[in-house]
Symmetry: C2
Amino acid sequence: MKRVYLFKEGSKEMGALLGNKGAQLCEMSRIGIPVPPGFVITTQACRDYFKVGKIDDELRREVKEALKDIERRTGKKFGGVKSPLLVSVRSGAPVSMPGMMDTILDLGLNDEIVEEMAKKDEWFAFDTYRRFLYMFGSIVLGVGEDKFDRILEKKKEEENVEMDQELSVDALKEVVNEYKKLYTPPPPEEQLFMAVEAVFKSWNNERAINYRRINNLPDDLGTGVVIETMVFGNMGDDSLSGVAFTRDPSTGEKKLYGEFIINGQGEDIVSGKRTPLPIEELEKIFPDIYKGLCEIAEKLERHYKDMQDMEFTVEKGKLYMLQTRTGKRTANASIKIAVDMVKEGIIRKEEAIKRVDANSLQQLLHKQIKGNHVKPIAKGLPASPGAATGKICFSADKASEIGDEERIILVREETTPDDIHGVVKAQGVLTARGGITSHAAVVSRGLGIPCVAGCESLKINEKEGFMEVNKLILREGYTITIDGTTGNVLLGEIELIDAKFTDELKILLEWADEFRKLKVYANADLPEDAEKAIYFGAEGIGLCRTEHMFLGRRLPIVRKMILEEDKREEALNELLEMQKEDFINLFKVMNGRPIIIRLLDAPLHEFLPRYEEMIEKKLKNGLTEEENKIFEKLNELREANPMLGFRGVRLAILQPEIYRMQARAIIEAAFSAIEDGYEVKPNIEIPVVSDANEISTVKKHIIEEIEKVFQEKGNKIDYKIGAMIELPRACLTADEIAEEVDFISFGTNDLTQTTFGYSRDDAGKEFLEEYVERKILPDDPFSIIDERGVGELMKIAVKKAREIKGNKIEIGICGEHAGEPKSIKFCNKIGMDNVSCSPYRVAIARLASAQAVLEN
Amino acid sequence: MKRVYLFKEGSKEMGALLGNKGAQLCEMSRIGIPVPPGFVITTQACRDYFKVGKIDDELRREVKEALKDIERRTGKKFGGVKSPLLVSVRSGAPVSMPGMMDTILDLGLNDEIVEEMAKKDEWFAFDTYRRFLYMFGSIVLGVGEDKFDRILEKKKEEENVEMDQELSVDALKEVVNEYKKLYTPPPPEEQLFMAVEAVFKSWNNERAINYRRINNLPDDLGTGVVIETMVFGNMGDDSLSGVAFTRDPSTGEKKLYGEFIINGQGEDIVSGKRTPLPIEELEKIFPDIYKGLCEIAEKLERHYKDMQDMEFTVEKGKLYMLQTRTGKRTANASIKIAVDMVKEGIIRKEEAIKRVDANSLQQLLHKQIKGNHVKPIAKGLPASPGAATGKICFSADKASEIGDEERIILVREETTPDDIHGVVKAQGVLTARGGITSHAAVVSRGLGIPCVAGCESLKINEKEGFMEVNKLILREGYTITIDGTTGNVLLGEIELIDAKFTDELKILLEWADEFRKLKVYANADLPEDAEKAIYFGAEGIGLCRTEHMFLGRRLPIVRKMILEEDKREEALNELLEMQKEDFINLFKVMNGRPIIIRLLDAPLHEFLPRYEEMIEKKLKNGLTEEENKIFEKLNELREANPMLGFRGVRLAILQPEIYRMQARAIIEAAFSAIEDGYEVKPNIEIPVVSDANEISTVKKHIIEEIEKVFQEKGNKIDYKIGAMIELPRACLTADEIAEEVDFISFGTNDLTQTTFGYSRDDAGKEFLEEYVERKILPDDPFSIIDERGVGELMKIAVKKAREIKGNKIEIGICGEHAGEPKSIKFCNKIGMDNVSCSPYRVAIARLASAQAVLEN
């Protein structure tokens, strides 16, 4: 098998064999871009090398033959004294691993050749030689860089200059002599094969392995090796080296963006040894070269149909391209470039949609810290993106009280459902414990407010009203800024940049809407959330949790309902009126868009104080009669595994009056909104279902109550009843469930818990991070749907439900997976109808669901 | 469609259409048994009646026509004065519902006919008339029975007689007159149709509905109606009525078993109004009739190939059979009859195996209370069968201490894994809280000791050493008896009967072994359990839990391991030696039979004191430094949902040293047993697996440790590694798991918890009982495998595992379902290889798995 390809023999599609850099050099060469002659050793040769442990004779033969081809084209000779051919030996993997592996330049020199070269240009000859000796010695032979650096620095001191290129010829000669005392370079041919071997080996250096681990890249690809005729940016003042993007990678603006240095080699820019000039200067200094570069940029973009990141060198006025690749860019630039390229006729809409990383939209839709000038005082987990500034507040009650007047950051050991009334009033949440799947994190993401979780260096003393972090004490009321995108906690108020929903993003999302099949709903409990959802383009509410309607100032009423049998009805009536108001406002905001309202899901003990608190109180100060009653009830209701407990439909079957009250509140609210001129589409969802009989049992109560309302009103309205599918058994019996309902919605958070047998509250801190770290699981299944397990159950459920009702049942997903692109694509693939995510992820879902269609 | 069948038109296979009683009368008539002429109205007619609400004309026509047929055969005329035909109208459903529905006898009488009859036999005429008036009045017209009874009793007082048949003719006449004052009977034809209608209606009387609910029978079958010529056992001293079994239903002995009354009708026996004579007397009084009955019994048995329960009447010396049906019998009789009938050539082995209810074996294998003479002082849930007597003991520690010398009953609020050392020493366990799936119940069933759980009337005051139940106070040390089969708690020592493993049962099980495909293993942790398992016929141990090896006197060492990082290795070494001893003993008992040893499954916090205890102590008396350390660790390890927590393989991946120690203990023990001349088959099982990568990760450690032992011993032994499949995801990825293991075993207890999202600790007391009661679920899924959900996952897993490894992977089930016949049949159906149940259920499993093969 052929393992060496001349540039003319390869093309851009051969990245897996030639490495990306090599393949693009071949491509450029093929389409007539000026590229110095060269060839590529394949990744197969690299893999062979790792098997055998040496460069075999056949490969040597092939390389030497290719070298002859270069010699023919350039009229130079590798190792020849008269017209010496110098080459670079560069790594290039199939997937870009920038800077991770080795590169050696200026190969093919020896004393004799340098002397001959010096006859033409002494400075250039010794500058090149000292560069070669340095790179070859440090990279191939492992001589410490510091030894070379010390020699060079000493010389610069002696000559009192700052930059390498200011050294005199004599100084360079002395440097070369000193360098040669460190080691004696081998003859040119040996240099070449030793360099190739070094590049092969660099595939497995520590930094490359780490890079692949972090970026989830396979370890068995191997690198290609590019061997190319050297062109010299350091051949005087008509020579230069530079890098340039075809568009601005940070804004996406269409203009050449980059920098260059005169009389220097490319690595001088990369290493930061010299300060380069902005590319605009090139136009002034060498307008023709600039024009040539612009033409090449245009040609490359049209050819590759994407923004390019190029390296180039000018040797004595002649422009050579040394590399081109797709350029990295910010999310904003990515969108602008994609949309602009459609307008310019370079790509089609479909391509534009596919090209933007849906996940990257997230950074656009939250406030961000301007610059990164302030050092954080602590770092936690980036639990909900965006930045926020506010006064420290340790109590949810207080936050709820003052949150309307002041901006506050709620700081808690960790949050519980009890704190929700405080969370909704806070600008952001900071917790000392809990992971990115903790309560605080989940709720914050749902509300779209920033959250830094598990900030373990934080010691909170709630009672005395201060927190301590690394010997710094901050009293309640002190202003801090948190950045949920990075996990940073900063002192004081920091300037923030607003969320950007640019014109281009709007256009892109409108295009996405043309293609996608999934409807995109949002999870929203409050009218404010619903407004946000509509702003971001949600077509409805896919999950309105009603738990918060039992919390905050309503908690005493809820407790009355739980604790006092005889006041139960009274309490339910009070709650009815309140929930009705909640629903009226939601209906009005959503005006005509569907709302899926999930009936009470939480177990009743979640509305009582925590056991730990009660027992502490009891044993310290004793309990009042009232508290004692609560404690007794708590003991009765407390569960070994609340996740698998007496909740949702289970509770409703034994105590149907809560669901009756909620059903009545929904329908009465619907009537009320209609009276005010709004359109309503109420959908009632039953949670925690594991058997169709549960639905039929509870449905009877719901329908009976609704029929009562219809009678009282003397009128009817349309409504739908559905089930949340969040338990394996519900998936496995989805055919029977489908018989009973108009819609189903996967609750994949809970489904993941039961399918894996993972408690979300515990698993993260205990073993899940470690599992992902060690690749036992490819991803955190709470972030990305586990297709082999949870996804398999979803497939089974969709198939069974469709067998019964075809397209007459609407199938959706709510919860965090619904805002994650990979999971959305999975949902599209298995034939679902909608995804419902947090309002801030609606844009992501719109884009990702269009991508899902286009990638199929 | 024909809705009336003459006896000659039906056969025994037509039970669904004719009801069981009707079909068997047809059959007897067909094969030449003397049966009075008659016909049957179909169950379809009954269902039609419930649709229309009346007897339609077509049915009337059919009935009248059939009646004419009887008249032709008997030469009598219904409603005729000269030779009147009297009939009985009896209910008979497709499935026997004894005594639940109505029967009316002696229909077709009026004053004129009775007068005419009286000319032949005055006493008989009026005895029959009063009987008719009573039954028709009370059943068809709803006249209160008490009214009739009062009249009859008054007359008996007046004549100073005790029995109805001692009344004089005059008295009977007066009774008839009084009865007729209560209502006037309609003419014969009306009687007939009113009676038919009454029988139809009785299908839906309250008692029948309840019976069907309790016995899980469908409500829509309807009943057939049998109309048959009356024959009279009350026609003088050469007439009699009787019931007889063809064999003794309580022992199975082959001899006629039954009773009869002279000059009386069948209902006099059933109602207990007269004391019947044992059937042996018949031989003495009417040897010919007895002989005839024996011949018929023999004929019926040979024809039906099963023991029969017969009703017969002798009218003036002539024997008529009125009913035959398969006779109910005790478990013991059932086995003996089945085995005997094989020997007699009546049935084949296969039939014998199919015929014994596998579940019924349970009552044979535990001690039972003799008789039922003592009134219980309390009643709890029958949590583990069998009876036991012992002294009350409130503490597990004390039980463990004195349990070897004294018989004790461990009485606890509820038990925890901490109590296991006490439970194993107790004769039985009694708890005040917890259901039939509570810890105490599960452990007791595993150990085969009786348990009464959730005995809520019990108030235990452990500190002061007494318990109170309904104002009765029992001090620790007082002797009680518990009956885990009924849930009864009795005062003092009660005589118990030993478990019976009769010769016939042994034979039956040997036959079963010839047919079954499933291997039957037992769950056994201790050598004593293993011995029992072998006695009952287990072929190996399918689940040896190692949790108990960390408890009892070893707990301090385990805590050292958990709490003191620096003493961890030391503690593990101590445990190694102890566990090694455990395993050596097990290997010796099982000598050559496979043992599946499950590595540690429980989360570490289960080995620390309960949180509630600690906090109480902390806040009351403060904690010692030692205790404080434990409390801190407990807070670190405590979980929101321990069922879904940091256990089994998860723990082992992060802390592999425990599994390493256990693997070493197993293999060292195996070597040691081999040295002593025993054969060993160790199988190491990894619990709580949700992904194949977990196994491969932990397997590396286990194999590495085992290889070390091999090196130290200079020898190798065979062993297998397997996985417990107890999470939905493990089922869904069983193909990948199969790649990694030699065997898998379903842990269906936990699989049921996660598939349904039910916490076993909570669900029972909260809603599960109610679910079964209301038929939301057909059965408790923790008792019988839920085939639609959990079973579906098992099917998927078996299919996927077999796709990869065919029959090279052994697939089993351990846990309680493995000893439940219906579940065992399911396991056989989906192609599993073994079931592993508690030793006491091994016999059940042997029989049920043979039945599974034969029923297929």
